[in-house]
Subunit: 578 residues, 2 copies
């Protein structure tokens, strides 16, 4: 693994290297000891890291090459509903399901490096217990009986290390499960993998000094997004049926989009981050959230319904708001505002084409959808600069002290995108007074968004939803994920979003035309579109296989409606689960 | 009016004096011009400020002396339900109701100085419209049709000044109503008075440089509490049927207790503070709340039910959580933990007697109530010091900059209790990093409280509610309200509370015994119980007529159950509305 930066403290870091090696060796050992023959076959079929890192390989093809027909069906042919009913009618066991997904997760790991930690014996033991329970009682343990759910490493797992992407934490064993882990565990979920996240968890890519870089499943040379990039690769590779991610700036959504998946960033505090590492650390200016990444909107809904209505996280975590997952009631006519650009950074051609494609298809169903172009109404470039600045300053307003102390402890190198993040607020530690000021700017715009776009009476546009890019490009080149604005905007103001595939894929022939004249001259757009010499950086050939998945946003606490609306949109787009 | 402090800037303050005079003269003019004869009679009957300030006069007697039998019935004989049904059956008009309450509010003002601003022509005009509407349509405008609700001045009122207790804001005209004002206005409420609050709104007394000191209605020499002290006096004086207060450290609850009233501090963000002055200013470490003060638990419930379920504040304010007011479902056996002392400041004898009286009465109904003494389980003195320190530091962590700039603008004197508040965090402006640290201490204890006391499974006590003092004494001597801990504890951790009268009143003969040996030696207890020379300050004769109203606390977002439980407790205590 190459790291583009020198250690902060080479001598100290040297002492940690054996710990890193031991940690990584365990992962390899876990794969090998599960089934040495299968592992050997995987090594044979899957190309070298070098090839994977430089070619736009759709790694899902390795599943077809390496899995039996039956296992292939289990890991992708069946939805959760299928897996549940097949266990009930005896045509599948939890052990069979677990084994199939363990195999796909080994393939996923070797192709995308998305696994931080395997939990194979744990998963197989649990599967056995589930089968025994079903046999004895004739009923399921719960709604997740035998369902393999992958877990971002951010969530503590009892008796396992949570590194949080820091070398210094490689021996920090968690005393208990994160509440979310507990909830699905009780409902019968199978946990077989904990997935990768970037150093400090504050990158929009997935790269840490312990396990290295995670690849995109659809084009291995591209980034899987971040910080839940391990989940993106795992779910896209059918290494789990769905996964749990966290999101404070786009960390569920960008990976969902880059994996052409469905992802939900719920309104803050509807789901619980209790016993994740790190916790919130008292940071509440931009509130972290936790939510699902899945391969269909129905499974996303299934996750939330059972997480909230059966799991009742508020009975364990007083910071969680007790709003059950309601039955959404959509209006007869769904009014959607379409935002092509945030007026700060123009998206790449494929994204604009995707937005237009979706808008045009929805317009054809004018009995159900009403489309409003937001160009005349959206915030100006000046407003957006102020908003994005507020956003960035609030992330790093503590001067990155908490993160730096962890990095300094091991002396590990600060990776380029970690450093990029540290510079967000200019690297300055500000006062509580300034923190309050920036919060109040946030609150002012949170209200403006509501009044301008969502409010039904008054001068508002009365939208039900806003459709916008998830990210400026259809995937991204590793280490190039520098502009968070399309997702972090909604973290700052805490409106819930669902990411969904559009069926549109980047086309290196079609998506070439760039009107450089119309590009704005602000620093963010410059940073994305041009290199330091001022030449256009964008190269359509880089994004082969890059998916266009978009973001639908609704009113706060009405997450259910956003999910329901995406289901309706999906019926029009007719995108198949894969 | 005497002020115990010199102006910050005498020269600047001099320029503001005519503005203050004009503002106060308007209030007198409003009373006079409404009914010069009635006003003259009031002046004749109600003693001088000097007498009121030095004697424990129960000012409610002036109502009996000054109001007609019919008006007396209107302002106190009837509940909201009665007023509504009497308007419907034609036996009362909104104009009659308005006039009765305008008269009682003039009496209240002259006895307690609780009115900041009269809205008499506004109220009468509204009442006329309501009567016309009912006559024409045969139905009410809404659930508050003809119901006089008093408003803490904190809530903006369209085209009127909101001073927020600052001289510098005496010409700051609000462009629109606070959302809460709008909500009840649409439902037919009559607004005739805006009530007093202390300088900076951050005192547990009600004293500002504009209107001076507000008195306690039950003993005019005592403090009405603060910061919603104007509401305490107004509602206790039957100047309104109920009032709207705000609470960030006890500002609804202490005044409710001192007025022997019912008060609710809802879980934060269930009700909206949109367009109050000042707003939150981005301060979210301890979150301000808004809620009712009333003379019965049913009226408290009525307020919340219609505010939330009909008013739907979340349709206008995206920071409000859309949880409707549910029908509470109490357990068959209600498990209440009783906290006699917070282990930091021992309450005065009357409070301890009140707690014991209530606990004993509830114990007699062991089929309904189960009482748990919290003494063996509550946080230690050390823990409580840490908690209270966190609490105080978080209030003033900006170094009071926002408040100081407003005080400096007019040069007005800093009142002693304002200064006391400014010193909470040692007067230091801390960093955002430190702010996060203190937040994380808060979050840690918020969880501990839940796990220790409320959680049903695990090692928790499985309580439904906690009964504790509202304040350390049965009322307080003006300027002596220095310890906020009994209420601010629950602001810090945001568990909802209802204040309710117990039927117990301070008895200068009974409530004398103080075991000074057992008093702890921490600074807070010293500050409250002893003077600077170390002699006991407590004098039972000071608290004649002082009521004992206690605080019941429940789980977050389950405000409904707290209200429902107080109703059940009330059935046992049999305290009459008055």
């Amino acid at each position: 693994m190459t790291v583009d930066a020198a250690p902060i403290d080479a001598q100290t870091f040297e002492k940690y290297k054996p710990i890193i090696e031991k940690y990584n060796a365990q992962r390899v050992e876990d794969m090998k000891s599960y089934d040495p023959d299968f592992y050997a076959k995987c090594i044979e079929v899957i190309p070298s890291d070098e090839v994977l890192d430089t070619e736009p390989i759709d790694a899902r093809k390795f599943l077809v090459e390496l899995l039996s027909e039956k296992d292939l069906k289990i890991v992708n042919g069946y939805t959760i509903d299928d897996l549940i009913s097949k266990q009930l009618d005896g045509s599948l066991t939890a052990v069979e399901i677990a084994n199939a997904f363990i195999k796909s997760s080994i393939i996923a790991q070797l192709a995308t490096n998305c696994v931080m930690q395997f939990l194979i014996p744990y998963a197989l033991e649990k599967a056995k217990q589930l089968d025994a329970y079903l046999k004895e009682n004739g009923e399921l343990v719960g709604p997740m009986h035998g369902i393999p759910i992958s877990l971002k490493e951010h969530l503590d797992f009892k008796d396992k290390v949570t590194s949080a992407g820091y070398v210094a934490l490689l021996e920090a064993v968690a005393p208990k499960h994160a509440l979310t882990v507990d909830i699905f565990e009780k409902q019968g979920a199978i946990y077989h993998i904990r997935t990768t996240q970037p150093q400090s968890i504050m990158q929009m890519d997935t790269w840490n000094v312990i396990s290295g870089r995670t690849r995109n499943a659809l084009s291995t040379k591209l980034s899987p997004g971040g910080s839940s990039g391990g989940e993106s690769a795992a779910v896209a590779m059918h290494a789990s049926i769905m996964g749990v991610g966290t999101d404070i700036g786009g960390s569920i959504r960008t990976p969902s989009a880059f994996g052409n998946l469905y992802g939900l960033r719920p309104t803050a505090k509807r789901a619980s981050l209790l016993n994740c590492t790190p916790g919130t650390g008292g940071q509440e200016s931009v509130v972290a959230t936790i939510g699902p990444i899945a391969r269909s909107i129905d499974e996303l809904n299934y996750y939330m319904e059972h997480y909230l209505n059966d799991g009742k996280p508020w009975e364990y975590d007083p910071s969680t708001i007790p709003i059950p997952w309601k039955k959404a009631s959509l209006p007869e006519k769904i009014r959607i505002g379409v935002l092509n650009t945030d007026n700060l950074v123009t998206p790449y051609p494929a994204i604009l084409r995707g937005l237009q494609t979706v808008a045009n298809k929805l317009k054809k169903h004018s009995d159900v959808f009403e489309i409003v172009d937001l160009a005349p109404y959206w915030f100006t470039e000046e407003d957006m600069k102020k908003i994005y600045n507020t956003n960035m300053v609030l992330y790093t307003i503590d001067g990155n002290k908490a993160q730096m102390s962890l990095l300094e402890k091991s002396g590990e190198p600060i990776l380029p995108l970690t450093q990029h993040y540290f510079n967000f607020g200019g690297g300055n530690a500000l006062s509580a007074y300034e923190n309050r000021y920036h919060n109040s700017v946030r609150d002012e715009y949170q209200l403006k968004i509501f009044e301008k776009f969502f409010q039904k009476d008054g001068d508002g546009l009365g939208l039900d939803f806003i459709l916008s890019p998830t990210y400026l490009g259809p995937g991204e080149i590793p280490k190039h994920c520098v502009y968070w604005g399309y997702t972090s905007f909604w973290n700052l103001f805490d409106y819930p979003n669902v990411i969904f595939p559009t069926g549109v894929t980047h086309d290196p022939e079609l998506d070439v035309k760039v009107d450089t004249e119309s590009l704005k001259s602000n620093d963010y757009e410059k940073m994305v579109w041009f290199d330091k010499s001022g030449s256009l950086k964008y190269d359509a050939n880089e994004f082969v296989n890059g998916p266009v998945a978009l973001q639908l946003t609704g009113k706060r606490y009405d997450d259910e409606s956003v999910v329901a609306a995406v289901k309706r949109i999906n019926e029009v787009l007719n995108v198949e689960r894969r």
